[in-house]
């Protein structure tokens, strides 16, 4: 009798331990977002809830630092080894994070992942573009295209859309009439204008390197070439003859305003601009066309992105990757991209969402599929790039456009800065 009781007790104990162990099986992941806004946090929370329902053994805790200081805050969390499993990364700072050893190399996990075929090519390129391994999976992409106000252009008698940079300059000059307040191009004056100008100029230069399009294959700085000089001359003409003089101080909001008001019916922007104009314009008033091609015959584009990565000191990289996979599955990816209007990385997302069936998004699909398009990238992993974009290039191009310095001065300033 005593034995039976003992046995029973032992069994209960064992079961207790086992069930305890089972309960402990629940993994809690911490997810830090860096592009915080109340509406967006809500979208993420909904996605997390759905994920937890599908994966009862994984819990996800969302950390949402305020937008302005989010990146620095998450970086310091990672630096001091605070418990974070998944982080949102952005193209301009991910290089620093990789360099600091903050991120977990995902190669092994990506290798066995069937879903990667579902990603668009540019997303795969972006994911492999930084560091010696895959450190993140992009969530959405920013690719430049030429947005046009079809209604305004029609009124001004333009029916043929420009395909080359020369055609573009010509049509811009043709429709500009300052007396009537009509200009052509919404120039990007402040806030890293190099992200626009350099893409527009590069197409005049042949044989640019694909890992850093600031250099040609033979190591020449891209502005310091015949094509580069032509592009700069054209751009000066574009500014002085087809842009509002004030646009040298235009940031994103001014550009959008110029486009929506019709003062500047041409705009070079990322697809998230569609999200910004959608409320004010009807789909038949505007569209986007592929970026005009220059003398090289090549359309060099870069892929801006934001994505998800696993923290290097995460104790549950496999579960964290499971979450990332969920976040970029067709429907979740679509719902998150809809929020911004940026391009989803999942091919299925384009069918899962009505928004990406809008004709304006077709331009991006066409542009990316076009054989003249080549994806290259800014030297983002170079710590000096942020200084170049926010200070050096900004002052140089403003000075050039305002006639305070020559194209040669600008080439020299930029070249000397990089030491090319």
């Amino acid at each position: 009798m005593k034995k039976t009781i003992m046995l029973c007790l032992a069994m209960i104990l064992l079961l207790g331990i086992a069930s305890g162990a089972l309960a402990d099986d629940t993994v809690t992941l911490t997810f830090a977002e860096t592009m915080t806004s109340p509406e967006r946090t809500l979208v993420l929370q909904n996605a997390i809830e759905a994920f937890e329902a599908e994966h009862p053994n994984i819990k996800v805790e969302l950390v949402s630092p305020p937008y302005e200081s989010a990146e620095t805050k998450v970086a310091s969390m990672l630096a001091v080894g605070q418990e974070v499993d998944i982080v949102e990364i952005r193209d301009n700072s991910v290089g620093a994070w990789i360099n600091n050893g903050f991120l977990y190399g995902l190669d092994d996990l990506v290798k066995d992942w069937d879903g990667k075929d579902q990603l668009v090519d540019a997303a795969l390129l972006a994911g492999a573009s930084m560091g010696d391994a895959t450190y993140f999976i992009p969530q959405y992409l920013y690719v430049k295209a030429l947005m046009v106000r079809t209604d305004i252009l029609e009124k001004l008698g333009v029916t043929e859309m420009p395909k080359t940079t020369d055609e573009f300059l010509a049509v811009c000059k043709q429709i500009t009439d300052p007396a009537k307040g009509q200009y052509a191009f919404a120039l990007r004056g402040i806030g890293s204008p190099c992200k626009t100008t350099d893409i527009m100029w590069a197409t005049e230069v042949s044989d640019l390197r694909l890992d850093n399009f600031y250099l040609t294959e033979d190591g020449t700085f891209f502005m310091d070439t015949d094509g580069g000089r032509k592009a700069m001359k054209d751009y000066y003409e574009l500014f002085t003859e087809a842009c509002p003089p004030d646009s040298v101080n235009w940031g994103y909001n001014d550009q959008i305003n110029g486009f929506v008001s019709g003062i500047t019916p041409f705009l070079v922007q990322d697809p998230d601009a569609v999200g910004s104009v959608m409320g004010s314009l009807t789909p038949d008033q505007y569209t986007a066309i592929p970026m005009p091609v220059g003398a090289s015959g090549t359309r060099y584009l870069d892929y801006g992105y934001a994505g998800l990565a696993v923290a290097a000191n995460s104790e549950h990289p496999a579960e964290a990757f499971e979450f990332i996979k969920y976040m970029i599955s067709a429907e979740v990816n679509a719902s998150i991209c809809e929020f911004y209007g940026a391009l989803p990385v999942n091919k299925g997302a384009y069918e899962a969402s009505k928004m990406f069936e809008l004709p304006v998004y077709k331009a991006w699909a066409d542009e990316m599929a076009d054989e003249a398009t080549v994806f290259t990238k800014f030297p983002l992993e170079d710590p000096r790039f942020t200084e170049y974009a926010s200070t050096v290039h900004l002052a140089a191009i403003q000075s050039y456009l305002l006639g305070q310095s020559t194209a040669e001065d600008m080439i020299k300033t930029c070249k000397d800065f990089w030491g090319y």
Binding site: N100, S247, V248, S390, L402, T413
Partner: protein
Amino acid sequence: MKTDKWYLLMILPALAFICFFIFYPLLQGGVMAFQNYSLFNLKDIHFIGLENFKTIINSKSVNFWQIMFNTLKWTVLSLILQFLLGFLLAMMLRKPFKGRSLYCGFVFYPWALCGFAIGLIWSWLFNGQFGVINDLLMKIGIIKENIGWLSNPKIAMYSVVISNVWYGIPYFGIMLLAALQSVPNDLYEAAKLDGANGIQQLFHVTIPYIKPTIISTVLLRSMWIVNFPDLIYAMTNGGPVNSTHILGTMMINKVYKEFDYGQGSAYGVIIMVLLLTYAVIYLRVTKGKGED
């Protein structure tokens, strides 16, 4: 003796709070200014002596002395205009009139706004293309062509100074009004008996009486103006061609755009040293004058 200890104990929490939230960051910032401290390489933080300061001063892309000159221009112009107009406002509000409190509420309103919001409002007003200011001037017939208030390097600084003046007038208005109301009426009556006219009363009664307030408000305000890059940042980003960059905007750029905390802190240390020197000289020069 016992009470001394008791006092000490009572102020300890406040002292600890101040040390932790003011002196520690100050010290840490000071230390960082001498370190290679960049978000790009947090694994390799080390002392580099005066290197950050050298880089800033010798920078080819941003002329340090231009930044210093801009800072001076921004501060002096803003301060003088804010003070004069604020003083005028206080003088006008001194005598009670119907609806004065409501009027005060309206004119003091800018002081309640945050710098970035003011920057956004004024950048729209000054917008060279769709801005209200150009539109009004055009309708009145003063100008025939749009003026690039923020896109012309020659006038951008004056445009941002105007916005700053708009923001700062209420501060002087409030402070000087309070001081003015404390000037005893007997003094004016005595001055009148002595045959002093309005202007003489202003210079011999009003100003001497409120001098201590003037001295302290001017000192505080000048420091705040130096440390007020928000407005410029929202309006011009320091441009065009660095014409509105001041030390404060460069510091923001270094930290939030370039992620270089070392050089950012170096700018911070430069601002601190300049302001300390200024405060010491200012207080020396005005010493004793407050009790005239």
